[in-house]
Structures are given as structure tokens and as C-alpha cells.
Symmetry: C2
Subunit: 345 residues, 2 copies
């Protein structure tokens, strides 16, 4: 049985969801994949930082993160190391970067990922910043060091859309992608179809925890623009930047717009799209009226879906959860199992 030691940088929903999967499924993973994942280090911004070369107890870790003393109440070898020290000096072989996304600077995640690869560690991340803003540099660095860079969690949560494209569709010739890549806005649009105003639907999304107190990144399309850039980076080999995406959010949609679409047998969706046009890329995020028979029109609530248009297979659409604690935690596990398949050969 092969063991991988992990350092988690960030321990919010994704990190905790992943730790819950490991807590509940370790025996199953060992039996089916002959593998064991051991969390040796966790760094958080406000709940402390812990490291134990012998591994951390997952149940204790998950309790401590919400308890009064935070992580540093745990009986471990080291407390208070900063992220870069954990990355460089812990005995982890894989750094799991799950700190909050910043699509302007990609920091501090970008520095974490760079430091990890430079220290000869594999990286798995669900952080969109580094993958949207510096993928070419990081992928080249990973290749040069013979390490892997797993990014499945950056688009559509744990639904394995990036590996579908990279491993199973790459020979089919992908030339365009379009999809519903933000669950918050799709939830709001679904509520508006059911009669809510934009303001009421947004309030409901906030009450359910789908939308942040400041919903700008979601409702103005910045989140989707970042994902569109990631798709372009991975599948169309392009150095697109978020600023080059023609972006429009859903804040201007009125009940009249919704009703007009319905009367025409159509439905509004916030569609992220990128395609090759001649030697150039065209990328956009835009509310779009789709006929009900369109494969993306049926994606409702907080669901996500992406259609790859390919030369050999035509259109291939994957639909699934776009968020959720355990669902996005699964993205981390998927990247680790892919690393295990490659390592084992």
C-alpha cells in the first residue's frame, strides 16, 4: 500500500469536505485502490496552523477547526508555522491548496503553488486564481520538476469535467466549450423563472449559503470569466486573461425579460463560452436565451454543465453538482487518485 502525506493550505468548505471523505472512506480507498492519504499539516488564516510528521487525527481536526481554541488546541508536534514553512519544511509529498480564490492577484495561492512545485512537491488545488492567471508558468514548472498539478476542483466542483476533457476527449479535437459554470446565478435564474424578482431570488440564495454577502463575483460574471479562462488555458492552449473575456452578469435581468423568454419557449441561462475563431480565441460570459430543447436549458437550481464541441465526437455534455462541501472535496480526491495512477504506472 502506498501512502501519500498531504499538507492542506486552507481548511474551509473544500478542505473540510475532503477531510470528511478521508475520515469516512479510508478503508474503502485502501481496499479498492491500495492507497492511503494522510494529512500531516493544515494551515488556516484565522484558526491556526498544525503539523505532525506522524499524521493528524481527522476526527479531532474536524472538531478543532470549529472549537474555541481552533486547530492549535490539538496535541501535535508543531503549531503556528506559516504556509510557506509548512510547504517547504513539512514531510508532505503533496500540497493541497484550498485557500480562498483571488482572481485579481491569485495571491497568496500563487506563491504557495510555486513554492510547493519548487520544493519538489505535487500540487492539487481547487483555487481558481493561480490556474486562471498563471497556468502556463505553473504547468511548465511542474513538468520541469516531474511533479503533477491537479486542478479538477477549479471548475464544476468535484464533477470531473476537466479530466473528462484532458484524459478522455483530448484526441477528439476540442474546439469550443460552453456551459453553466456558476451555481449561484443558475439558482437565482431558476427562482426568477418561478416568479421571484432578482432581489428576492438573490436574498434566498444568500439565505441558503449559495451566495456571499457581497455577491459581485457571482452575479457580475467574474467567477464564470475566471473559469472560462481556465478552460481556455487547459484545452485551447491559450494565454487568455480574465480581462479579455467579454463579460456581462445577470443583475440587469427583469421579470419582463424572463416572461418574454418563456413566451418564446426559451429560458435565460448565464453562459460562459470560449472558442477558436481562426487563430484567435473568443471568450464571453453573458445571459443567453436558450430554447428548452437545448442540452443546457434543463440544468436547474445550483447545477452546472459544460458542453465540449469536438471534431470527432460532436457535442459531449457533462452535468453535475457545481459546488457543495463533499462534492468539491471529491475533486481533491480525484486528483490524488490520478496522481496515484500515474505514480504507480
Amino acid at each position: 500500500m502506498q501512502t501519500y502525506r498531504l499538507a492542506l493550505i486552507g481548511f474551509g468548505n473544500v478542505g473540510q469536505g475532503f477531510a470528511e471523505i478521508l475520515r469516512d472512506r479510508s478503508a474503502d480507498l485502501a481496499q479498492r485502490f491500495d492507497v492511503q492519504f494522510q494529512i500531516v499539516a493544515v494551515s488556516t488564516k484565522r484558526r491556526g496552523s498544525v503539523y505532525d510528521a506522524r499524521g493528524l487525527d481527522l476526527a479531532a481536526l474536524l472538531s478543532a477547526v470549529t472549537a474555541p481554541g481552533g486547530l492549535e488546541s490539538l496535541p501535535v508536534q508543531q503549531r503556528g508555522w506559516d504556509p510557506l514553512r509548512l510547504i517547504r519544511e513539512s514531510n508532505a509529498e503533496v500540497v493541497v491548496e484550498v485557500s480562498p480564490t483571488d482572481l485579481q492577484t491569485a495571491e497568496p495561492a500563487l506563491s504557495h503553488v510555486r513554492a510547493a512545485l519548487e520544493a519538489g512537491k505535487h500540487v492539487v488545488t481547487a483555487n481558481k486564481g493561480p490556474v486562471a492567471l498563471a497556468y502556463a508558468e505553473l504547468a511548465a514548472l511542474a513538468r520541469a520538476r516531474g511533479k503533477t498539478l491537479g486542478v479538477e476542483g477549479t471548475v464544476m466542483g468535484g464533477t470531473p469535467v476537466l479530466r473528462l476533457g484532458q484524459e478522455l476527449l483530448s484526441a477528439a479535437g476540442i474546439h469550443q466549450m460552453q456551459g453553466i459554470l456558476n451555481g449561484t446565478t443558475n439558482y437565482i435564474l431558476t427562482q426568477m423563472e418561478n416568479g421571484a424578482t432578482y432581489a428576492a431570488a438573490l436574498a434566498e440564495a444568500q439565505a441558503r449559503g449559495y451566495a456571499e454577502a457581497d455577491p459581485t463575483a457571482d452575479v457580475e460574471g467574474y467567477d464564470v470569466a475566471g473559469k472560462v479562462v481556465i478552460l481556455a488555458n487547459l484545452f485551447l492552449g491559450a494565454g487568455l486573461t480574465p480581462a479579455q473575456v467579454d463579460r456581462q452578469g445577470i443583475t440587469q435581468l427583469t421579470p419582463d425579460d424572463i416572461a418574454a423568454a418563456r413566451a418564446a419557449g426559451e429560458r435565460w441561462k448565464l453562459i460562459g463560452r470560449v472558442e477558436r475563431q481562426g487563430g484567435q480565441l473568443a471568450a464571453s460570459v453573458r445571459p443567453t436565451r436558450l430554447p428548452l430543447a437545448h442540452p443546457l436549458a434543463g440544468v436547474s437550481g445550483a447545477g452546472n454543465a459544460l458542453t465540449f464541441s469536438t471534431d470527432l465526437l460532436g457535442d459531449v455534455t457533462l452535468a453535475g453538482a457545481g459546488a457543495g462541501r463533499v462534492e468539491t472535496g471529491y475533486a481533491i480526491l480525484g486528483d490524488l487518485l490520478a496522481l496515484h495512477r500515474q505514480t504507480r504506472g
Copy 2:
């Protein structure tokens, strides 16, 4: 660059579609995957059989199969070998079994696949018979000989639904699958929704080449039942047989049934389904009324889709072409590239 020598047993739509992909994309495959696939042998039932250890010319092969003299008009080293001799005595490392499916006996494909694995050759097949009726035996044989058995083309044509399940969703805990797995019947149902009678829709499907002269296997659900058994074999580890599938086709559906569904905001689809219920499996093929918002309701025409229900990710749905010459040819290429990834380590 690694070269794989292939023997094709059968050279109908799937085999020719695959040969066309190789003819058109060899340079791309060599550049991107550092691999070359060389067809050295082709066996057909009525158009002859050819073998040349140095490789066959693909353009000449594709012309000859429809020309008066058939394949044996080609200038090659050996003509007229039977399939088993080609499998055992040719220098092919991979046997590509694409002869017509027989869901009663699985023959002659079953004998071909057995002979190939016993001779120490990898197998890639789009033939449902052996995978529905003898998967456990063949998978064990492949393991024992250290060879791979690729079966992507048996369900949803080239749309990589089986590798999605096996490689990307296996850790998520698949407990149920349901889908639209037959393009012919889905095309007929779509035409009936547009106002055609069953008889007229069937005639149209036959005119377009979607349905055979004897449409029984499609319209009575036998084809879907075979695919449901394949899904059970691959993902639920079960020795289900086609006879154990509770099967009902679409031949009894009337325009009144279609209208009643529409009036209720629903749509008829022929749904293949298999799930764990306690320690048992329940499997069925049955015309089913789905609400329009259901992820499978939007799949129209000859399209296919499958929903995996999983413990960790919830529902994940893949939709794409279920048939087509080049599309199913891509399934063969996908399995060969997977073999290449594994071999290269």
C-alpha cells in the same frame, strides 16, 4: 515513438470509422501522444481477409472494402486467413473485435476475444455480446495474462461514458445508473412527439439508416437490455444476464400516450436502469414519462445520455452521440490511447 500493431476482426461501420480516423489523424496522434497505430490485419465475413506484417495502407484498405474484388484485391503478404488464425499467428499486439453483435450467444466474438487474450494480446471491442454475457470471465483472463480489455464502444458509441465511470467516478460510489442508451428508439420517440405515428417514425428511422430492416433488437429493448447488463457488470460487479432485465420496448406507445404525456408537461423516453436494492440488483428497460426538467428529458433525436447516481457527487450525467461511424470509431481510439497511457506508465 511507440507503435502498436492491430488486427481488426470485422470491418463494418465501426472498423471503417476507426480506420478513417487513423488515416486522417496519424500525424496529430504521433505529435501529441507519441504513438502510432498500424493496422496489419483485417478480417471480414464477406469481403475477404488480409494480413501484412509490415502494415496495410489505410486509403487502399478503405477503397478496397467497397470495391468489386474486396480486400483480397490488395497486394499483401497473406490472404484468406480465418479470424482465429489472424488473431493467433499475425504479429498484431492488439486485437480490435468489431464484428456484429449477437446478444444470444456472443459468438463468434466471444471466441475471438478469448483466443486473443489467451494468445497474450490486448483486446479492444465495440461488440456488446462478450461484454454482456461473459465479462467476468474475460476480465479475469485479461488480468491473468496482464493484458487490457477495452470495451468503451459497447455503450453510447464513442462518448466516453464507461471510462468516465471507471476512471473518474469509481471512488464516488456508483449505486445506480439510468439513461437513454439507444439512438434509434429515441429518434422514433422524438418524431412521434413531432406528430408522427409509430409506423411512420420507424419508417423514417429506417430510411435514415438508424434502424435495421428488422428493428426488433432496438424497438423491443433488447439492445438497451444488453447495455444495462454491461453497466451492471462494469460498475456494480454483478453477474446479471439479459434475461434478468425486466424489459419492455416502445412498440405499444400510441399517439394518445404521447399527447397525454405532453398535456402533463412530460415526455416519453425509453429508459434503461440498473440499481442496487439491498444485496440484489434491479434492472429494467421501460418506456418512462419524464418531467421536462429531468436531465434526460432534453436528449432528443439519436442522442444518448447516462446518469450515474453516486454517494459523494450526487447525480452526474454525460450526454453525447450514441452512434455514428466516426463517433464509434473514436471509442476504439480512446481504448487504444488508454492502453498506451498504461503501457507507458
